[in-house]
Amino acid sequence: MKRCKGCNGYSVDDKMVKIANKYKGVKGGIMGALHEVQDEYGYISEINQKYLSDKLGVPLSEIYGIITFYSRFSLMPKGKYNIQACMGTACYVKGAEAVIKAFKDNLNIDVGQVTEDGLFSLESVRCIGACGLAPAIVINEDVYGKVTPDMVPNIIDTYRKKEATK
């Protein structure tokens, strides 16, 4: 962990230092730097944005404007298992909201957030076309149909068990 001078007391890891050094002085280097940060961490944190701002001399607001312009750059991390809860009409009518709440309670995160251990993230998505299985959720590539709030703990457990065996 490095502590850099004049960076308002926050610290970044060695990978970030490497990335910043690579793109310092490169014309238009902020784009390449953001790509590497996105690939390395899965998102671009506020701290990393500030670090790049300081090292590459690009105002933080400009960096923020760039990140939010391009679809590939993300401000929010995604979990290893990204839970996508369908909020299309059919699923909504069949109680998708209650299912989402069950996930929120079980994982202690809100929609658009990731759990502290980085395992699970929760997002609501538009119709995934599985209306016959409403309410439907997708976790990475697995589709779960007719999900009820009671089923949620078991579903989460499946993935936790998967992690434990690794």
Binding site: K27, G28, G29, I30, M31, G32, L34, H35, V58, E62, G65, I66, F69, Y70, S71, R72, F73, T89, A90, C91, V93, K94, C131, G132, A134
Partner: protein, 609 residues
């Protein structure tokens, strides 16, 4: 090790020779890779080792274009064609090859006969592969193979024999026009960039191919990356630039990977970098990744992105040739345009201009998709008709359905209805029917497709990708989408079509860049040729093609209904009423959300829309 001209010639001769050995070429484009072509390669490689097979190698190669039948494997130099190969077929293939036999079950059958060599397939009959010439023949990760097929010979010729004006003349006389969509004469573009004074100039390659359904440039970069590098170096020499940038989508990881390898190999040989081939000419190429913004395919937006900014376009003039990347004179061309350059230099402008039509010379690569049997990548001479592409090359419409329209040019293009299916594919002919060439995406629609929904699909894409700088595009396309959405959901009003037309024509005139200027095209052309469909949606709240969900009237045929109750259980909104064996079930149209789940689940196919 920097190579001299003689070194390169030696490599050329040697590799040409070694390429006469048996080579098992496995397509390693993105499509086939996702169908496990890498596993095929691994398996074959393992078996060849086990059998100590001498004189046979297995290699990855570029796209053959026949994606409908992928993964493709070709045994060279016999050109034996195998389709839909699985990793498990590896042993059989090796066995057959070792014994000078073929694996019939993997071969294509046409007119009840097996077709042995891939060029004999109907699919390739009317094609002419120039930009795609090396795809399928060489291993894109081996520079020696590129050199063997006369790669870097054009660069050598240019550096040693031609002046900048000579090159401009050849490219101009060839009639090559920009393949990115606009069709601007390439020779003229190079001339403008050359004429501007300046010590520092740039050559850029637009590899930000973003049209949904288009993968021409991706295939070229995955299958023959050196052709682009060589062309850029030639362009650099011609206009007086020492630095090139390839702006490529990050969503093309295989292409990026192949380009990185190619650049390194070229640099190692001294074919890029300082003092190329000892001529004193310096030229280097760097990659810059796109980050998920379709608008960065626009010239000035692309340059802004390379400069580390939001990808918002600038008004022109000043044109990039005068003031482009980093405010310097810049030449930007599309991948496919560049891929043609080395061949033109080597074969001459007369050769190229003898192909195609009066005003559109050469060939065009198309990504054929949609409701067509032979989905894939095709390259045809300009002037071929749409009918020839759909019927002869594309193999017609599957499922016994009829051709309704083809969308050329993606979200910027217009549709071509059945009545115009004999239109020639060239820049002027397409423009005359209010369509456009575009970058090469060609989506075929059968009679089950709703044209209003198609327009809406492309407009949704445009709205998502608009950069937001100018009001006509930022707000105008959104308003058009709102009107279209209303129409497809049964809330269309009298006058909506006229409103769409008016809004569309204003957006075309007032938008800052090509994205906004062409965004209304799908709407205008579908209104022009399928106005009746729009009117049906609006006046009668009906979707003639049966695609728009909200206009579907899901209906249980009382005669066919066996009263099993499965539909009622399936319905997510309890719109179906009835009891088991107590009369036909009924759907309440007020509650029904037209999701189609019951239609799928009914075992007796009693439900339809």
């Amino acid at each position: 090790m920097k190579k001299t001209v003689q070194d390169i010639e030696n490599i050329r001769t040697q590799t040409k020779l070694s390429m006469k050995n048996i080579r098992i070429m496995v397509c390693a484009g993105t499509g086939c890779t996702s169908s496990k072509s890498q596993k095929i390669i691994n398996n074959i490689s393992k078996i060849l080792k086990e059998k100590n097979a001498e004189g046979i190698s297995v290699e990855k190669t570029g796209c053959f274009g026949f994606c409908a039948k992928g993964p493709i494997v070709v045994i060279d130099p016999m050109e034996i064609f195998y389709e839909q190969v699985k990793p498990e077929d590896a042993n059989e293939i090796v066995e057959a090859t070792l014994n000078n036999k073929v694996v019939e079950r993997l071969m294509a059958k046409e007119n009840d006969k097996f077709v042995e060599r891939w060029h004999e397939l109907n699919f390739y009959n009317k094609q002419k592969r120039i930009a795609l010439k090396n795809c399928g023949y060489i291993n894109p990760e081996n520079i020696d193979e590129y050199i063997a097929v006369d790669g870097y010979k054009a660069l050598e010729k240019v550096l040693l024999e031609y002046s900048q004006d000579d090159v401009v003349k050849i490219i101009s006389d060839s009639g090559l026009r920009g393949r990115g969509g606009a069709g601007f004469p390439t020779g003229k573009k190079w001339l403008f960039a050359k004429q501007v004074e300046g010590n520092i100039k740039y050559v850029c390659c637009n590899a930000d191919e973003g049209d949904p359904g288009a993968f021409m440039d991706r295939s070229i970069l995955e299958g023959d990356p050196h052709s682009v590098l060589e062309a850029m170096a030639i362009a650099g020499y011609t206009i007086g630039a020492k630095q090139g940038y390839i702006y490529i989508r990050a969503e093309y990881p295989i292409a990026v990977h192949r380009l990185k390898i190619a650049i390194k190999q070229a640099k190692d040989y001294g074919l890029l970098g300082k003092n190329i081939l000892g001529t004193g000419f310096d030229f280097d190429i760097e990659l810059r990744l796109g980050a998920g913004a379709f608008v960065c395919g626009e010239e000035t937006a692309l340059m802004n992105s390379i400069e580390g900014k939001r990808g918002e376009p600038n008004p022109r003039p000043p044109y990039p040739a005068v003031k482009g990347l980093f405010a310097k004179p810049t030449l930007l061309n599309n991948v496919e345009t560049y891929a043609n350059v080395p061949k033109i230099i080597l074969n001459g402008s007369k050769w190229y201009s003898s192909i195609g039509t009066e005003t559109s010379k050469g060939t065009k690569v198309f990504a054929l998709g949609g409701n067509i049997n032979n989905v894939g990548l095709v390259e045809v001479p300009m002037g071929v008709t749409l009918r020839e592409i759909v019927e002869d090359i594309g193999g017609g419409i599957p499922g016994g359905r009829k051709f309704k329209a083809a969308q050329i040019g993606g979200p910027s293009g217009g549709c071509i209805p059945d009545s115009l299916i004999d239109t020639k594919i060239d820049y002027e002919s397409l423009a005359s029917i209010n369509s456009m060439m575009g970058s090469g995406g060609l989506i075929v629609m059968d009679d089950s497709k709703c044209m209003v929904n198609l327009a809406k699909f492309f407009l949704e894409f445009t709205v998502d990708e608009s950069c937001g700088k100018c009001p006509p595009c930022r707000i105008g396309t959104k308003r058009m989408l709102e009107i279209l959405t209303r129409i497809t959901e049964g809330n269309g009003k009298e006058g909506d079509v006229e409103l769409l037309e008016e809004l569309a024509s204003s957006i075309k005139k007032a938008s800052l860049c090509g994205l906004g200027q062409t965004a209304p095209n799908p709407i205008l052309s579908t209104i022009r040729y399928f106005r009746d469909e729009y009117e049906a949606h609006i006046k009668y709240k009906k979707c003639p093609a049966g695609e728009c969900k909200k206009l579907m009237n899901v209906h249980i045929d009382p005669e066919k209904c066996k009263q099993c109750g499965i539909c009622k259980k399936t319905c997510p909104v309890n719109a179906i009423s009835g009891e088991v064996r107590q009369g036909p079930f009924k759907i309440n149209p007020e509650i029904c959300i037209k999701c189609g789940a019951c239609i799928e689940k009914c075992p007796f196919k009693a439900i339809s829309k």
